[in-house]
Subunit: 422 residues, 2 copies
């Protein structure tokens, strides 16, 4: 095995940079972020790259091209984690790319483009509540208001950046739009069971799902559990349960759509009192924005029907929405060719989870490779697993892609850029 | 108006004996229990009764019979309240009886039995978690283990009784079985909407529902809300919602059965995570024990079917059960005659809520009068209401009943007691 075993070992090292051992929690701008960053910088330098932290705490490594003025290909993923995380979410996408560069470097091989590997400081958004701040800065969509968000201890992102040694005002200089970046490609564990169920080590991502989140409040009438006849009840929980099943049914009978009710609370919440209020969340995802919006609309209408029939009231509020990001057809095809080269059947699949890749389309064509996740596809959990064998395959695919990727000629790039302005 | 306005005023005074003004909370053996008891003792004495606290803090008033060796009729209700209670639950049943005695006393009228009015110290069980301890002691079903139950501050019932001036070991002497008690009759607000919906001030209770309570735990599999296809999910909350609707449907399509899911909790409870665990309670009530037991059995089987189909596991545990208490036909008939005397159509209805009356059958025949509850029948809540006009009617009904009730002859009583031994 050329890459796999070493990658697993490196992931174990990164797992040791945690705020709450034996669990893994590594938040943006924590001391453990710095430790992990220093480790990655060392790995990158050993692999023949120049590397360092940027103004927002992203680690950026650069493997120079075979010419001095070549275009740039970017890859990488995030170094930060959720609370009580697994070992591979994010981290794998960084390590697999560094392994490719090390291999190229050992062979003395340069590419017709500069390859940059980024370990994004903040994708999960656990500390300050704003997600993908590192990649957004590079995509020109960083919201400076984020800098004033505070963590649980009241420390703002701005203060934390200064303590970390970063530069809160430096985000403007990180914008890579128009900067000769021709592709962004990210490897990531699937965080779901599709590849596992189909016995495939890797798959090519078609697009990253957009998300709509609703908060739904049902208001009925409290009453004594023993004294109000069934026919006279306006039970907020029973109504909410019917709505939950409506979400499940609606999403389960349409392709490319998932819907989840992850939270549910009931008031007054006493054994012998008919619920007066029930509140729940709905998380809808689809790689097709129209399908997602139609589902949200249909469900809100369905909730109203259910509420009306039951004599309760319902209020559904959309509190978050993000559009889907489609992967670039040509890059997808190139990744597919590299998968085929490993003798693996092609499986294209959407990404239901958000990733740094989804903010890159304003910069350049974007693609993603998914790697099989063990344990039924569990992620964001200590039970998240992947195998050294799959890490080997995925790294071989990425390396093949990087070695065979031909950047478009400058005139084609210009055409694309003009196209983008139209 | 002879009784109503004064009763409402007295209920207002009792409401002022509260642990957390402006809300009403009066727990067993609290200083406010003592204040309320002293107020009731004064009312009873003014009404021509002897009165005092017993060993467990119940207030017992006695209106002597027209003969020295007559039988005893008992009435009353509880002085304690839930947290943030209404003004009439329990309290009304005490005040209406005292008003009857005051009227008899003013007319110089004695009855062919001694009338005892009890203000039970502890029906709701808020402080120590054991319900109806006062009435259970009188019915010979007091569980001495209750004395070691502690409140939120770690004070045991035994200690609280001593502080109150009671006698923790005195419960044995309160047992009224075989003590010449020939009837127990309790007036109580309905705590439901039946009389309100039918525009009736009072109704005669057929029986007090028995209760079965289940705790149901559903265990599925957590997963990322975006990455697990709908068909691969084992969503604990969706399964629980189907079970909640099964409870509603089952109880809604059978007579004399109500079922309530009052609590529901979800883990991990994150917007973007498929629920791994859902736990909820079921409260089933019926005046027919066989119907209630059959419902519990059928629902547990239905839960298992739902769980099996969805690939989740379910565990349902019965954690509380109490049998129904049937009201005595002869007493019911006598109450019905007193209702008719007021020109009010007879409405018989079950009591879904538990009451002190339900523990009295080991002592004597038992009956209850329900009084209309306003505000859609809301109770255990500050919005609980009743009108002075209904208080007037209900008190007139009780007074008529008391004046016309003829205790069974001693030989008939003996026959009944022998019957009870068979």
């Amino acid at each position: 095995m050329h890459f796999g075993a070493e990658l697993m070992r490196q992931a174990d090292v990164l797992a040791s940079f945690t705020e709450d051992p034996p669990r893994i929690t590594r938040r943006y701008l924590s001391p453990q972020h710095r430790q992990a960053g220093n480790y990655l910088i060392a790995l990158m330098r050993e692999a023949g790259m120049s590397a360092g932290f940027d103004a927002l705490g992203n680690v950026v490594g650069r493997y120079a091209s075979d010419g001095s003025q070549g275009p740039v290909v970017m890859t990488g993923s995030h170094q930060d984690s959720v609370r009580n995380a697994g070992k591979y979410d994010g981290v794998f996408g960084i390590l697999t790319a560094v392994a490719c560069v090390r291999d190229l470097h050992q062979r003395g091989k340069r590419l017709p483009y500069a390859l940059e590997i980024v370990a994004f400081g903040d994708e999960e958004g656990v500390r300050f509540g704003a997600t993908m701040t590192g990649s957004r800065a590079m995509a020109g969509t960083f919201d400076a208001a984020c800098l004033d968000l505070a963590d649980d201890d009241g420390v703002t992102m701005r203060e934390a950046l200064r303590t970390f040694g970063g530069d809160p005002d430096g985000w403007r200089d990180l914008d890579r739009r128009g900067g000769n970046v021709v592709a962004y490609v990210e490897s990531h564990i699937e965080q779901g069971p599709v590849l596992l169920n189909e016995n495939l080590p890797v798959g090519v991502v078609t697009g990253i799902a957009g998300t709509t989140r609703l908060r739904v409040a049902v208001h009925g009438q409290a009453g004594h559990a023993g004294t109000v006849p069934m026919g006279s009840r306006r039970d907020a929980l029973a109504a909410a349960c019917e709505m939950v099943l409506a979400v499940e049914h609606h999403c389960g009978t349409r392709p490319d759509l998932v819907g989840t009710v992850g939270r549910m609370s009931v008031l007054p919440g006493a054994i012998n009192v008919i619920p007066q209020d029930a509140e729940f969340t709905v998380d809808l995802r689809s790689t097709t924005d129209t399908a997602r919006r139609a589902a949200a609309q249909a469900l809100v209408a369905r909730f109203a029907d259910i509420a009306k029939r039951r004599g309760v009231s319902v209020a559904a509020t959309e509190f978050f929405a993000a559009n889907a990001a489609r992967c670039d057809p040509a890059l997808k095809e190139a990744l597919a060719a590299s998968v085929a080269e490993q003798g693996i059947p092609l499986r294209e699949l959407p990404s239901g989870a958000g990733h740094d890749a989804m903010v890159f389309p304003p910069v350049c064509p974007t693609a993603m490779l998914f790697v099989r996740c063990g344990n039924s596809g569990i992620s964001h959990h200590p039970d998240e697993t992947m195998t050294a064998a799959d890490a080997e395959v995925a790294t071989s695919v990425l390396l093949h892609f990087l070695e065979h990727y031909a950047p478009p000629r400058p005139d084609a790039r210009e055409a694309r850029e003009l196209d983008g302005l139209a």
